[in-house]
């Protein structure tokens, strides 16, 4: 039985420490959670993501107070009630809409940072896998949220995406109907996506964020050179006051102080978009109410799904689906496909550097082609080539990393 000091004032530091190990917690999670000094602002993206998730959560709660998950009421509850009757309802909606879109930009930056610096490798595989879990959960969250305004794009994108579950020639129509709860998207469909969006997926995301943070604690974050740091020695130096010589800084307050600055810059951009430039995140087509009898001229997903959508499109139905399924999971396999022992930034890894930039550019081209009308033969061709290239990139990765020269430590 632990010792509890009778004289400790309730909720005083000592009182709390005896009960929940406050000081240990603070040490492990903040003041002695060591972060390498040799990092750049890209390492702030994780906290930017956490902050954006917080913003989405808060704005979402406000929207939830007036939203009506009913196929007859949903559109007007947002576009009329929230947008014109509720005080500052428009602000919450714009924040939520822009946040949902911009969070993916930051996720992609965060992912490509990880790829560039090899932060998914030896010791950090679970960080990467939990990160990919977050990517999938965010994708599901974004898709289900997009259904809620019940506009033309909600309806038709919902139709197209759920159709994929028929599995091409498998013609699993029963599965599609089970997912939709109806033959076509309707009331049952809307209410279940509402549940997913406001309850189940957010719970999963919160759990995954905790897991993601947990997987970070022991391997520590990577650094600009992929250097393996002796944390005990570096921490000792730091605690002795040799902050200049030490290779590490404490998470709080030193690392956080920089994160906060990066967040400030990010919020300036974020709110500029919220007030003045939101069409990219709130597609005008979705301000037309859902109409099952009127197919829009162009149906496309939000920008962050375009690259994988374009891997589906150029092929015949079945091959497209297989390629699409492959694209959805392949990033999970990255830590195991990269056979090189080097944890180093791409510019020190020879062919891998070329591989990295080709992958990035290819995914941007796929993103663009995913939105451009495939009826244009040039676009269709470029889309096909970049989709095939994307698929080839993974066997190529295995080969080039297998033959990658080992970088000698200290070099």
């Amino acid at each position: 039985m632990a010792h509890f000091d009778e004289n400790a004032k309730p909720f005083s530091n000592k009182w709390l420490d005896e009960r929940i190990g406050l000081n240990t917690l603070m040490r492990v999670l903040n003041t002695e959670y060591w972060i390498p000094k040799n990092i750049n602002f890209l390492w702030a993206m994780g906290m930017v993501l956490a902050a954006t998730f917080g913003i989405l959560l808060v704005s979402g709660i406000f929207l939830l107070m007036y939203y009506k998950p009913d196929a007859n009421l949903a559109f007007d509850s947002i576009n009329y009630t929230i947008m014109s009757e509720v005080g500052y309802g428009w602000l919450w909606r714009h924040i939520h809409g822009v946040g949902a879109s911009i969070v993916f930009l930051i996720i992609y930056i965060h992912m490509f940072t990880g790829i560039y610096y090899g932060s998914y490798k030896r010791g950090r595989e679970l960080i990467w896998l939990s990160g990919m879990g977050l990517f999938v959960a965010f994708s599901a969250e974004a898709f289900s949220g997009y259904m809620l305004p019940w506009g033309q794009m909600s309806y038709w994108a919902g139709m197209v995406i759920t159709e994929l579950f028929a599995g091409g020639s498998l013609e699993a129509v029963g599965l599609v109907e089970w997912i939709r709860g109806d033959y076509v998207p309707g009331d049952a469909y809307l209410t279940r996506f509402f549940m997913l969006h406001v309850l189940l997926i957010p719970l999963v995301i919160i759990g995954l964020i905790v897991l993601h943070f947990g997987t970070l604690r022991l391997p520590h974050v990577n650094n600009q050179e992929g250097e393996e740091i002796d944390y005990e020695e570096a921490a000792k130096l730091y605690k002795e006051g040799n902050v200049k010589e030490s290779k590490v800084i404490p998470f709080s307050p030193v690392f956080l102080s920089k994160d906060l600055f990066v967040m400030g810059v990010y919020f300036i951009l974020f709110f500029y978009l919220v007030f003045y430039h939101f069409d990219f995140a709130m597609d005008p087509v979705n301000f037309d109410p859902a109409d099952g009898l009127k197919t829009p001229a162009h149906i496309y997903p939000e920008w962050y799904f375009l690259w994988s959508y374009e891997i589906l499109r150029p092929f015949s139905k079945d091959i497209g689906l297989i390629a699409f399924a492959f694209a959805q999971v392949v990033f999970f396999l990255l830590p195991f496909m990269d056979r090189s022992p080097n944890v180093a930034p791409a510019h020190k890894r020879g062919l891998f550097q070329i591989w990295f930039w080709v992958l990035l550019v290819d995914m941007i081209i796929l993103t663009a082609m995913g939105k451009l009308p495939p009826t244009d033969p040039t676009f269709a061709f470029v889309g096909l080539v970049s989709a095939v290239l994307f698929l080839l990139m993974w066997p190529i990765l295995i080969i080039i990393t297998k033959f990658e020269k080992k970088i000698e430590k200290g070099a």
């Binding site: 009329y80 102080s257 400030g264 919220v274 920008w303 993103t367 663009a368 939105k371």
Partner: protein
């Protein structure tokens, strides 16, 4: 500095992606091409109506006869436009308009003839001349009629057969029916006979009154449905509710579409409305008021929020500097 270089790379790829999926993709998606695959540039003509757009359209369709007909029609309009109209003489002619535009809310051939109380303020002069000469030609829906006489306002052709009388009645409209017009009046006169606006509680029959008894409300609803059925029969489909249209369509689309619906939706049954530039601005103001009421607040609140985060960033920077002192 390394961080700035990295930032430049991140910004470059983000902007490139943005450019490709937004401006570029939207341009490619909405581009109109003629039979030879050449792009047709759709540009606003500043809400003047001289038939040039209609002639080009007929030329593109390769219909020589139609080209000649359109040219002849619009050159007649131009001739009349040059005549000096006499507003006093026009007042008598206007009496004939009132035969139909009488405010009785009676459907006539598909729609309720709109009020003309501000016709001079919202419509363009040459368009009004064209409209009285031949409504179907003026509103560019002549393709719908074998004989434009059968247009709901088509019989006007037989009432104003000489050019001077047209010039006179238009002069009357431009002087006596050109008073100050509110955005809502502009919308009611120009669009409401076809388009409802549920967020403004307006239907084709006008503002929906408040009813004490449900029975009366239902009776009104039936009248609205009957009216909408007639509009539907006339237009081939029920024109969409315009409550949110200002958010659903871009500024460029709205402008060019209202000026000449055929440019953006070839073959559409929506007639050209013939608004002047000022008239369009009024209608747009109303559509914004109903469909995007937060625009004003956004513009008011935006700068303050951004200022807040600029100050936040500066303070965060100072804090960071202090915390990192001695670390390098």
């Amino acid at each position: 500095m390394r961080e700035l270089k990295i930032l430049a790379v991140v910004v470059f790829f983000s902007l490139l992606t943005y450019y490709l999926v937004e401006p570029y993709a939207h341009h490619e998606m909405h581009k109109k091409v003629d039979a030879d695959g050449n792009e047709i540039k759709i540009e606003s003509r500043g809400f003047v109506y001289d038939g040039a757009a209609d002639v080009e359209e007929a030329e593109r369709a390769g219909d020589k006869e139609l080209v000649a007909k359109k040219k002849a029609f619009w050159s007649d309009v131009k001739k009349i436009s040059k005549l000096k109209g006499n507003a006093t003489a026009g007042e008598a002619g206007f009496g004939m308009c009132m035969g139909c535009h009488n405010g009785a809310n009676m459907n006539m051939g598909g729609v309720i003839p709109p009020s003309l109380d501000h016709a001079g303020a919202i419509y363009e002069k040459d368009y009004l001349i064209a409209l009285i000469k031949d409504p179907a030609m003026a509103s560019n829906v002549d393709h719908k009629y074998a004989d434009t006489m059968t247009h709901p306002m088509g019989s006007i052709k037989t009432m104003f057969t000489d050019d001077q009388s047209i010039a006179d009645v238009v002069a009357y409209l431009m002087t006596k029916k050109a008073g100050e017009v509110t955005p809502k009046e502009a919308f009611s006169e120009a669009c409401m006979r076809c388009h409802a606006m549920r967020y403004a509680k307006t239907t084709q029959l006008g503002d929906t009154p408040k009813f004490k008894h449900e029975k009366d409300a239902l009776a009104h609803k039936i009248k609205v449905i009957e009216e909408q059925d007639m509009v539907k029969a006339y237009m081939g489909k029920l024109p969409p509710d315009l409550s949110m249209i200002i958010r659903a369509r871009g500024a460029h689309f709205m402008e060019t579409f209202i000026e000449n619906p055929q440019t953006q939706l070839p073959g559409t049954s929506m007639p050209r409305v013939g608004l002047s530039h000022e008239g369009y601005e009024k209608v747009k103001e109303y559509l914004t008021e109903i469909g995007d009421p937060s625009k004003k607040h956004r513009e008011e609140v935006g700068p303050w929020v951004i200022l807040f985060f600029i100050i936040f960033t500066i303070l965060a920077y100072l804090w960071k500097k202090e915390k990192w002192r001695g670390h390098h």
